[in-house]
């Protein structure tokens, strides 16, 4: 594996990891398969782009605008696809359809407002190259890796130590038990959707360092995020991280040795194979205690 493959593998791992953790947390805490996650991703790219041309090119502004837009879209998803339907029968299916609708309407609206032309974001981390011995990294790659590792570390610490974090994890584990200790699913859902939206916004800015912003920009990351979340075992954050590592490197390796057109094929092949062998994904290997 050459250094370029390694670096782009790591970069993709980070971005997919952030998305997959969002998908995973939403699924296990709210029972919602959030297909609008890709839309959140695309809008956040536009939010960051808009901030860059109106407010200024500073990296902080671009990152902040992406994250804020993501959080805002998360809030919209909360109102449209959660608040008024979560107590109805068959909620998972309703939420699936609602989020799919948000995704379709949203993407077409983006197309309508901004047009199909690709936009490029300013380089948040500046342009240049770092050499660490053998390894050559662009500032973008290094920034992406540091930024996502930092964010995920902070997220995990927050989930582990704070009252809100405990609330979210309790809901992920057992909704009835959570209600019995006084946790309101409505409040938790608001936090979860805004938080995961903001994470998707961050991922959008990070990925746009390498790719362009366009209305369909969210489609591929959404599919990758879903694959990783499934592979990791829905609901497991550790599993999602390992899944992201596997998928990210598989993508980098496939792209450089077989060609970019085989990437999705290989990934879907992998997910089918892994789910045949380990139906609960990687999470089943991580903890033997979840037998119920």
């Amino acid at each position: 594996m050459d250094m370029f493959t390694l670096m782009s593998g790591l970069q993709l791992t980070c971005i997919y990891g952030i998305l997959a953790i969002g998908v995973s947390i939403i699924w296990s805490s709210l029972g919602m398969l959030n297909l609008a996650h890709g839309f959140t991703f695309a809008v956040s790219g536009y939010g960051a782009w808009w901030a860059a041309i109106t407010l200024g090119n500073s990296g902080w502004i671009v990152l902040g605008a992406g994250v804020a837009t993501g959080g805002l879209v998360g809030l919209c998803i909360y109102f449209i696809a959660f608040l008024y339907i979560y107590d109805k029968p068959n909620y998972p299916i309703r939420a699936l359809i609602a989020t799919m609708a948000i995704n379709m309407v949203g993407v077409q609206t983006l197309m309508w407002v901004f047009g199909p032309r690709m936009k490029s974001l300013p380089k948040v981390f500046g342009s240049g190259v770092v050499r660490l011995g053998e390894v050559v990294m662009t500032y973008g790659q290094m920034g992406t890796i540091i930024c996502s590792v930092g964010t995920l570390g902070a997220l995990l610490t927050w989930l582990g130590l704070s009252r809100r974090g405990l609330e979210i994890r309790a809901v992920m584990q057992n909704r009835e038990g959570a209600a019995l200790v006084g946790i309101s699913l409505r409040t938790t859902a608001l936090w979860v959707l805004v938080l995961t939206g903001a994470l998707a916004g961050l991922a959008a800015v990070l990925l746009s360092q390498t790719f362009f912003v366009n209305p369909y920009a969210g489609m591929q990351p959404l599919i990758k995020g879903l694959i990783v979340a499934l592979l990791g075992g829905l609901g497991s954050i550790g599993g999602a991280m390992i899944g992201a590592l596997i998928i990210g490197f598989a993508e980098a390796l496939t792209a450089s040795y077989l060609g970019g057109q085989h990437v999705l094929m290989v990934q879907f092949g992998m997910i089918i194979a892994i789910l045949l062998i380990r139906p609960r994904g990687i999470a089943g290997l991580l903890d033997e205690s979840r037998e119920e």
């Binding site: 107590d87 405990l166 309790a170 584990q173 057992n174 009835e176 038990g177 019995l180 006084g182 205690s289």
Partner: protein, 236 residues
């Protein structure tokens, strides 16, 4: 004596199945009450009705004068968090546990309300005094514990909050006799100056001498109540 819980004319069930028929009872402050009856005759459903977890319910349930019942035809569990914050702690039969959380986090979850959260360390210490075996397991995920240890965690979680009414569902279920004795003894240690406790149990011997009175439930209806246990062997 003041009433903590007052249930009147309550019916409840799941889907088209009606489990409880016009139940009325009242529990006073400081009381420990045994709710006895055979399997499948509505003990758990009564608890689940009080906490709003059944599919539908009808009738008045008040906790210290606050109406927590009422008529409801859908949305099981929607009001449960609010009822829990009013001070009802259900220690459920199926345990409803957070399998992946550690014992420590699990106990902390019981002190979720803002006020209790700030005192969680002291409260956790108290729970560990009641259930000493948990001390060594604090950092173990709950999914790895044995049935008896899990039951202790469930009870401990219920004891962490500011509770006015403890509802303990079958504390001895699936436990070895010696362990269930210990669990009952631990429940007896809980101070009830502010609240009351209802223990649902099939095993009458276990409750003997522990509770202030018994309420029998059969076929979803209240069948007899008694003050003293010694009379009651033939009651149900």
């Amino acid at each position: 004596m003041s009433e903590v819980l007052s249930v009147s004319g309550v019916s409840a069930g799941y889907g088209s199945l009606r489990v409880l028929h016009d139940i009325s009872l009242s529990i006073n402050r400081g009381e420990r009450v045994g709710l006895v009856g055979l399997n499948g005759h509505g003990k758990s459903t009564l608890f689940r009705t009080i906490t709003g977890l059944v599919d539908w319910q009808n009738g008045s349930i008040t906790l210290n004068g606050v109406q927590i019942g009422g008529k409801r035809t859908h949305g099981p569990g929607l009001k449960t968090h609010w009822i829990a914050r009013q001070g009802v702690a259900l220690m459920p039969q199926g345990d409803a546990m957070f399998i992946g959380l550690t014992v420590r986090q699990h106990l902390d979850a019981g002190a979720f309300t803002r006020l209790a959260w700030s005192e969680r360390h002291d409260r956790r210490e108290k729970i560990l005094e009641i259930f000493p075996p948990l001390r060594k397991l604090l950092n173990q995920p709950v999914g790895k514990l044995s049935g008896g240890e899990r039951r202790m965690v469930t009870l401990g979680r219920g004891l962490m909050g500011d509770v006015k009414l403890y509802l303990v569902d079958e504390p001895s279920l699936g436990l070895a006799p010696k362990i269930s004795r210990a669990v009952i003894d631990a429940l007896m240690k809980v101070e009830l100056t502010e609240g009351a406790m209802v223990i649902a149990e099939q095993n009458l011997q276990l409750l003997e001498g522990c509770v202030d009175r018994l309420i029998g439930i059969h076929g979803g209806e209240i069948k007899g109540a008694a003050d003293s246990l010694s009379l009651q062997s033939g009651m149900i």
